[in-house]
């Protein structure tokens, strides 16, 4: 076999083999892109009502300005915002809220002092989709430590 084909063959085996890394190593699972485990949408759900919660976070500044927390405002991606903050804040995770304040207020002259998590629940019913507003969850920024 020609030398070039030997190297290509080694490369093919390595590329295929590297796909085992995220499966075998939990620590590296999320860090070895583009070699990924492909378990997407793998969990099943029991029969029952189909429900989904739609949520968004608003931040209110010291002067009363209200702004929606978007990936651009946060400096993250949509999925990052969802997993790191939207889901924990809906579960009353105040540590995540304080972390979000910290990130949002970096170099802000008018810092955010309040977060409001608004959500609605959509349920599939016999007559169509039913929308129900949920109570707003509010977080206040912890006072800054004295300098």
């Amino acid at each position: 076999m020609r030398q070039s084909k030997v190297w290509i063959s080694i490369g093919i085996v390595v590329v295929i083999g590297l796909h085992a890394v995220p499966i075998l190593s939990a620590g590296l699972r999320k860090r070895v892109w583009p070699f990924l485990d492909w378990g997407m949408y793998k969990d099943s759900r029991a029969p029952g009502p189909i429900q989904v919660k739609k949520k968004r976070i608003f931040a209110v500044t010291q002067t009363g300005q209200k702004e929606r927390v978007t990936p651009t405002l946060l400096g993250s991606t949509g999925y990052g915002l969802h997993m790191l903050y939207e889901v924990p804040l809906l579960r009353n995770d105040s540590a995540a809220a304080q972390d979000l304040f910290r990130r949002l207020n970096v170099q802000r002259p008018d810092p955010f002092v309040e977060l409001r998590v608004e959500s609605e629940t959509y349920t599939v019913s016999d007559t169509g989709v039913v929308k129900q507003d949920n109570p707003v969850i509010t977080y206040r920024a912890a006072p800054s430590p004295p300098r």
Binding site: I8, I16, R31, S44, P47, G48, G75
Partner: protein, 322 residues
């Protein structure tokens, strides 16, 4: 008598290194580079927002960690550093597209694309859409993908002032074969995890309804919201999903049914896009390339039948064992 090892090597060569024209590979280069360059690459602004608003990575990809280990973080991950890097990758992409210094420009473009995407995925986010595509993009840099339809080829012809050299090589198919194998692996893995973790309950219709409805409501996709309310249809589509994902690999062994499997997978991806907003455009592009170039007999037969002439002799032939 041939040794068993030699027989395996012959089989390996016959699969990965059949003698073919480089035309399909060159078209693949143009399609993939243009797709990445003009359609799927994230704008510079997205990167700069991440660079400016984050003093550190949240969960850095190994590729990004390696770069920050070798170079000071501010050298690349600053507004000016990243802007320069982004445009270098862009110029390399343009050169790869027109086929000038093809191998080098493709390598720089592919590596740069890896770094750009790994950067986006170093802030608590990570998706599957680009993975297979960028691996194949890198593979193109190690194959003669600039041998035709390129400025390099034009310059070579002018320098020699003769007709083009032989176009048939045995290293023009392996990137497409790699794309095929990787897609088969990833579909199989996705299907098997549903079977192992979800069990038979994954087929109950409620599972697919729940996933579709959640994605569609959050992304305001009317077709998905409608599908989320169709229980019986969800059962049928669940079965189709599991069958397609688990048995896509059959296309590796049965070339005659491979086009049907590629077409099914293409419409599966389109369906996911229209109902759940899952934008696996890269998979769609790869599936179309495989449909036409891995198993070209079906369209060449149709071509000959309806246009009354045979297309150029560029189909694959097994390599002669050397």
């Amino acid at each position: 008598m041939r040794l068993p090892v030699q027989r395996w090597i012959d089989r390996w060569n016959a699969y990965w290194f059949p003698e073919t024209s480089t035309l399909y590979l060159s078209i693949t280069r143009i399609v993939m580079v243009a797709t990445q360059l003009f359609w799927l690459s994230r704008p510079l602004r997205d990167h700069l927002i991440l660079v400016e608003k984050n003093t550190e990575f949240i969960n850095p990809q190994l590729l990004i960690s390696a770069i920050t280990t070798i170079f000071p973080r501010d050298l690349l991950f600053s507004t000016s550093g990243f802007s320069v890097f982004y445009w270098v990758v862009w110029v390399a992409g343009l050169l790869a597209l027109v086929g000038l210094f093809t191998r080098v420009s493709l390598f720089v473009f592919a590596l740069g694309t890896w770094i750009l995407i790994a950067h986006i995925y170093s802030y608590g986010d990570r998706h599957h859409t680009e993975a297979v595509f960028v691996i194949v993009l890198m593979a193109l840099a190690f194959a003669p993908s600039g041998k035709r339809l390129s400025l390099d080829a034009l310059l070579r012809r002018r320098a020699r002032k003769t007709a083009d050299e032989s176009d048939r090589v045995d290293t023009a198919m392996w990137p497409l074969k790699l794309a095929h194998v990787l897609l088969a692996m990833t579909y199989f893995s996705t299907g098997m995890t549903k079977i192992i973790f979800g069990g038979p309950q994954w087929l109950n219709g409620y599972t697919l309804q729940g996933y579709t409805f959640a994605d569609a409501v959050n992304r305001n996709i009317p077709l998905g919201i409608w599908l989320g309310q169709q229980h019986k249809l969800a059962i049928v589509l669940s079965v189709f999903t599991i069958l397609l994902e688990t048995f896509f690999f059959v296309s590796l062994f049965l070339p005659r049914v491979a086009p049907l499997i590629f077409i099914s997978a293409f419409f599966f991806q389109v369906g996911l896009l229209l109902t759940g907003g899952h934008d696996f455009y890269q998979h769609m592009v790869l599936l179309v390339l495989l449909l036409f170039f891995i198993t070209p007999d079906w369209w060449r037969t149709l071509w000959a039948k309806y246009l009354g002439r045979s297309s150029p002799p560029i189909s694959a032939r097994p390599a002669i064992p050397r």
